[in-house]
Symmetry: C3
């Protein structure tokens, strides 16, 4: 194998079990095609050896961690993609509807900006350090959980109430 | 059985185990009378077949999901009722003090508004979509967890610190 | 044994397992020296019998719960100490880097104010009850989790993204 990188099936299985457990406990779901999910998780382990972090197995990393932060798995785009497309860019994470076969996953457009635009966006952000509520805050009407995203999560990670039980709070 | 609705003891047991696990991991507790808790959980499964959602087994649902959202279990009134009365309206969820027999549950008044007042409250809310901090925000002094409710939760769902470790934040 | 206080190894083991499970599920870690961790946990059980609450085993409690609230384990100083020193004052809780032996724990200065200054600080706080955003709010860029602390947590308790994936939100 090139670069001297190798992963064992045991490592892959261990990480699969860990990620699945953590996902379920917070209301997320790994892809139901276990073989497919494990191939992606193997990619994470390969990237860990190559770069030192879990760079997304479906995207080209720069190798500069600062630059790749947004694509370390779970990436900054996972939750918006789950909301809009039912799966993350790689389809490692899927919604319950997709897991249950009630919804099909179509191809998912890349939400990450190209390098030039990314740099510009970053530069403009540094200028005004505190983003002054750049995103809406959502409140779970059942338990009061608060989070800031473009939309509420699929289920409340605390009390497991569904998306429809959230309200705009700020 | 009328309406052709039936549930198996296995289904009830499975859902009981799931709800208990999720409750405990977030600092909530199911009623310690397991038979009583299971009878309520059976009611949830019956309502799922009847209406398509877990309508509260102790309240009359309209069958219009939009209208019943606030009484889908766990209902919007669970946490305030736990705070004030030590149990939710059905007593499916109880506080630790009730679970341990240190506190008795008295009859719990219905917190849900009658249909007419509910409609009015909803209408007035749509007018000013963002509720502009209609509820106080509580902060766990141990781990920084934030939630918005009339009062802090019984225990912090993240670090399990007790209610007394919360402070008003906003 | 003086004061008639006694704890059994079974009690200590049960509490050790419970605290370890709760810590791990929220991204915290108990000290990897199991014997050392259990000796501290035994101290918690002794203090529970002595005072009625889990007063920090490494600090002198007053016995007045209101006065000792900030040192009930986990104490108000755990998370800042994990951030700065890699361990809490007792070293019952440590960061992943310390757990993995990548970082050594040096002696940890007492962050709690002396009694006189504590009283003053409390008095000045009662004056303006709502602390009007006395602490920054951090947002997990992956899942939107919000918390208010001097800095972001080691890992997001919801989605397990690392500290570096947090941004200042308010």
């Amino acid at each position: 194998m090139n670069e001297g990188i190798s992963t064992s099936p045991e490592e892959v299985n261990r990480l699969y079990e860990k990620l699945k457990r953590e996902a379920e406990s917070a209301g997320y779901h790994l892809n139901g095609d276990v073989g497919f999910a494990k191939s992606l998780i193997k990619g994470l382990l390969v990237n860990e050896q190559r770069y030192g972090y879990w760079s997304c197995p479906c995207r080209l990393a720069s190798g500069d961690k600062e630059d790749d932060l947004d694509i370390i798995c779970p990436c900054d785009y996972r939750d918006p993609d789950l909301n809009e497309h039912g799966a993350c860019y790689c389809s490692l994470y899927v919604t319950r509807a997709v897991l249950n076969g009630e919804r099909k996953v179509e191809s998912i457009p890349e939400r990450r900006l190209p390098p030039d635009e990314r740099k510009k966006a970053k530069a403009s952000k540094v200028a005004d350090d505190v983003p002054s509520l750049s995103l809406p805050v959502w409140r779970c009407k059942v338990c009061g959980y608060l989070c800031a995203m473009n939309g509420p999560p699929e289920v409340c990670p605390i009390c497991k109430a569904k998306k429809e039980r959230f309200e705009r709070f700020m």
